[in-house]
């Protein structure tokens, strides 16, 4: 992240807070429909200091992290095979697309039934939703490796492993990171959806609690802000790793 992006991010944040406030004032919405930003902010600080938010956030973060890791690693392997073998691609693409076309919202209850209300079902759901974009971008990246460079490697008697490590992965990396950027935001969605399908703890649970039994609408919005902040932070983390790993060319 360049330093010059920070002012523009802060500027965008300020503008959206002002708009939010304007909507509340002009529309005259009651706090239980749309609380003003300042009361959400107060509630956000409160929830983080009195220990309400942290355990939920930690749970969700763990689900996102594990789901993203499992889904990405599986997708890298499968995407590589898909990219290298058009036979395998023809064979299993229909299943991949069919699985992707089935809404994760519809699948979540089934997966919760199978994998229980604990961590596992959330990790599975997040991993599933991360899988598709990362696998497709890996496949595209591997296919984009220049045939001339592959022939060069062959003429230099590169081993299979050397071709993968020195040629295919570096060449496919920009495309793979395109998929990982999408994947990390989807992992957040997957974890929350998983929590809605049945969980005891997590930010998705907290949103429901705040809206339902607690009827604490500012807390609900504070939770949403936390979820969004986690999404942005993780996305930026992926971008930072990308900057380190993808060399200029």
């Amino acid at each position: 992240m360049r330093l010059s992006t920070i002012p523009s991010v802060l500027g965008a944040l300020a503008v959206s807070l002002l708009l939010w406030k304007a909507v509340v004032v002009i529309g005259g919405y009651p706090p239980f429909i749309l609380p003003p930003p300042e009361s959400v902010l107060v509630r956000l600080v409160e929830a983080w200091t009195d220990g309400v938010m942290a355990p939920h956030a930690a749970t969700t973060l763990l689900e996102i992290g594990l789901g993203f890791a499992v889904g990405s690693v599986a997708a890298l392997v499968v995407g590589y095979v898909l990219g290298r073998s058009s036979f395998v691609a023809r064979l299993i693409s229909p299943y991949l697309v069919a699985a992707q076309a089935t809404p994760i919202l519809a699948l979540a209850p089934v997966l919760a039934l199978w994998f229980g209300p604990g961590l596992l079902s959330k990790v599975v759901i997040a991993a599933l939703i991360v899988f598709f974009p990362v696998a497709v971008s890996t496949m595209v990246g591997i296919r984009s490796v220049d045939a001339g460079l592959l022939e060069l490697a062959r003429s230099l008697r590169a081993t299979r492993r050397q071709v993968v490590m020195t040629l295919e992965i570096p060449a496919a990396l920009p495309s793979i990171f395109g998929g990982l950027r999408i994947g990390i935001t989807l992992a957040v969605v997957g974890a929350i959806v998983g929590e809605w399908a049945g969980a005891e703890r997590g930010l998705g649970v907290l949103v429901n609690l705040a809206r339902g039994s607690l009827f604490d609408i500012p807390l609900m919005f504070a939770t949403l802000v936390t979820i969004a902040a986690i999404g942005v932070a993780l996305y930026l983390a992926v971008v930072l790793v990308e900057r380190r790993l993808v060399p200029a060319r």
Binding site: L156, Q162, R249
Partner: protein, 260 residues
């Protein structure tokens, strides 16, 4: 093969290469190609488009499996890429994310040379091709000619006995090309590797080669093997000699016959 003979002798025996085609009979790219190159000799391959010049070169490099016949290097059959053979393609084929030095080091890296050895060798190779000041630069920042020099340095990295060049300077303008050909010959003067160079320029073929082998159109075969009556070291001025125009005329006559 006597012990005294210079290494890098190539024998191409009755070489035929077919490429499979979907829904059609296989394409016979070359058929019955037969020639030899002595160790340390420079031979130019010239011929019309589609005569299989590159296919012959790629067969020698072990990248194409012949359908018939074989290629011998110092008496032993070539059956795959060989470290004794260095290859420069028509395009530089540099890894765009690696610096010039690391691109040259790539050949050594794949062959398993340890880093300290690589670093020393790469410096020497870059100096040889005049790229010592561009070591840390990415290929995208280089001119086409400098990229091709880097590719040449990479091809020389494993100290090959044979250097195969596939129209290496065809993308360069005429003047740059002359200079590169001179540099190539100067390099050859020190290394004395066997060189087989594919070209579609008659003057380049004569300027570089001890012999010019003229190939006929598909399926490619040898139609003439012409000795170049020029002494070495060569200079650009020699291209104006009467012997050169006679050789050029002969090459052109064969090429015209082939084209007709």
């Amino acid at each position: 093969m006597t012990e005294a003979a210079a290494p890098g002798r190539i024998d191409v025996h009755d070489l035929a290469v077919e490429f499979p085609r979907r829904g059609e009979a296989p394409l016979l790219a070359i058929d019955g190609v037969e020639f030899s190159v002595s160790g340390g000799e420079i031979v130019s391959l010239i011929g019309p488009n589609g005569c299989g010049k590159s296919t012959i070169l790629r067969s020698i490099a072990g990248l194409v499996r012949p359908s018939r016949g074989q290629v011998l290097l110092d008496g032993g059959a070539i059956d795959g890429p060989d470290p004794r053979i260095g290859l420069v393609f028509q395009e530089p084929r540099l890894l765009p994310w690696r610096t010039v030095a690391r691109n040259v080091a790539y050949a050594l890296e794949l062959a398993g040379f340890p880093r300290p050895v690589r670093e020393v060798r790469v410096l020497e190779l870059l100096r040889r091709v005049g790229l010592q000041d561009s070591a840390t630069v990415l290929p995208a920042q280089l001119s086409g000619g400098m990229r091709q020099r880097a590719a040449l340095a990479r091809a020389l990295a494993l100290e090959p006995e044979v250097l195969l060049l596939d129209e290496p300077f065809s993308a360069l303008d005429a003047m740059t090309r002359d200079r590169f050909n001179l540099e190539l010959l100067r390099l050859w003067g020190r290394l004395r590797t066997t060189i087989v160079v594919v070209t579609h320029s008659i003057s380049e073929a004569i300027f570089l080669g001890d012999r010019v082998i003229v190939l006929g159109a598909r399926p490619g075969r040898v139609v003439a093997d012409i000795a170049v009556p020029l002494s070495r070291p060569r200079t650009i001025d020699q291209l104006d000699e009467a012997a050169v125009s006679a050789t050029a005329r002969e090459i052109r006559r064969h090429l015209d016959l082939v084209a007709a």
